[in-house]
């Protein structure tokens, strides 16, 4: 873990290869997550509302508390691990500090909002159906941007 507190990644080709493959897999994860979101009803607030609150026309029922909690539980694990690992790699990559900070804060905020917007739609107000696609985009685009920036930074080292 010393690699995350020093910047000598250029002297460690094995670690560099590991980072590159991890970031490539992460980009595939973002693509997969977008496809999953699309298959669950799409990105519009109306489809998100129908997914969580049910739709009489489509004979779908509102999501139960157990399903909502399981969704929060799994999303929070993936978001936490991906966020910390990607931010740690971004920290050692060559890029402007200010840009790194903006990405860390915006992606983290997007992750938190994405995790909590499902239960908010179901138990607080349907108006949060606007927050879910926005936070989804912010979180996953942020992960993409951090991955691409890190790959570019690693290529320069």
């Amino acid at each position: 873990m010393k690699i995350f507190v020093s910047n000598d990644i250029g002297k460690n080709p094995a670690m560099k290869t590991l980072f590159v493959f991890f970031l490539a897999l992460e980009l595939l994860f973002v693509a997969g997550a977008a496809l999953m979101r699309y298959s669950e009803g799409g990105f519009s607030p109306a489809s998100v509302r129908a997914y969580y609150l049910g739709d009489e026309n489509a004979f779908t029922e509102p999501k139960s508390l157990t399903l909502i909690l399981e969704e929060v539980h799994t999303r929070s694990f993936f978001a936490a691990v991906l966020l910390l690992t990607t931010c740690s790699i971004l920290a050692v990559a060559s890029a402007a500090e200010r840009l790194k900070l903006i990405l860390v804060y915006s992606t983290s905020a997007g992750a938190l909002a994405y995790i909590l917007s499902g239960p908010a739609i179901r138990y607080v107000s349907p108006v949060f159906s606007h927050a879910l696609p926005a936070s989804f985009a912010l979180f996953h685009a942020g992960l993409c941007a951090m991955a691409v920036l890190s790959l570019a930074g690693l290529a320069r080292k």
Partner: protein, 162 residues
């Protein structure tokens, strides 16, 4: 330490999301298993009045395998961050981390003991889960405090030293 400006906010958000996961885990435990030994035993062994069937070995494995991976990863990440960011009370933090791993193992495997050995192991399930949640929350809280300048009860010491 280099890269602190990037790592500290990332770590703080990581801890907050882990706390969200702790809360959702506790709520899921309450909704699915309940917080009494009778309800935990009923979840695993089945309950005719609630039309619940006993858990099968394959069904238990479907929950065990992802939890073994996820819990291992999360506690490992927390464990390796403690000596870097939270250097105070090393022995206490080591004890809390060990209890994290031990209680996680007890929580994960006690389901099998309830199903295939004796329903009395429901007490072990409840105790292990509670200990795991408490120790994970304690480590997450310590690391959040470390990110924001130290434990709140040490604020007076810091002011005096300044």
């Amino acid at each position: 330490m280099k890269n602190e400006n990037i790592l500290k906010p990332a770590l703080a958000f990581f801890m907050v999301i882990i706390l969200v996961q702790c809360v959702s885990g506790a709520l899921l435990f309450g909704v699915k298993l309940g917080f009494t030994p009778e309800s935990v035993a009923g979840f695993y062994l089945g309950a005719e009045e609630k039309f619940m069937r006993p858990k099968t070995f394959a069904g238990l494995l479907e929950v065990t395998v992802p939890h073994l991976c996820a819990v291992g990863v999360v506690v490992f990440i927390l464990g390796h961050l403690v000596p870097v960011f939270a250097r105070e009370k090393k022995k206490l933090m080591n004890f809390v981390l060990c209890s994290c791993f031990a209680s996680a193992a007890g929580d994960i495997f006690s389901g099998y003991l309830v199903c295939f050995v004796h329903p009395g192991f429901a007490y072990l399930k409840l105790f292990s889960f509670a200990l795991f949640e408490l120790s994970l929350t304690a480590v997450a809280f310590s690391l959040i405090c470390a990110c924001f300048g130290g434990f709140p009860w040490k604020a007076r010491e810091r002011v005096e030293q300044a």
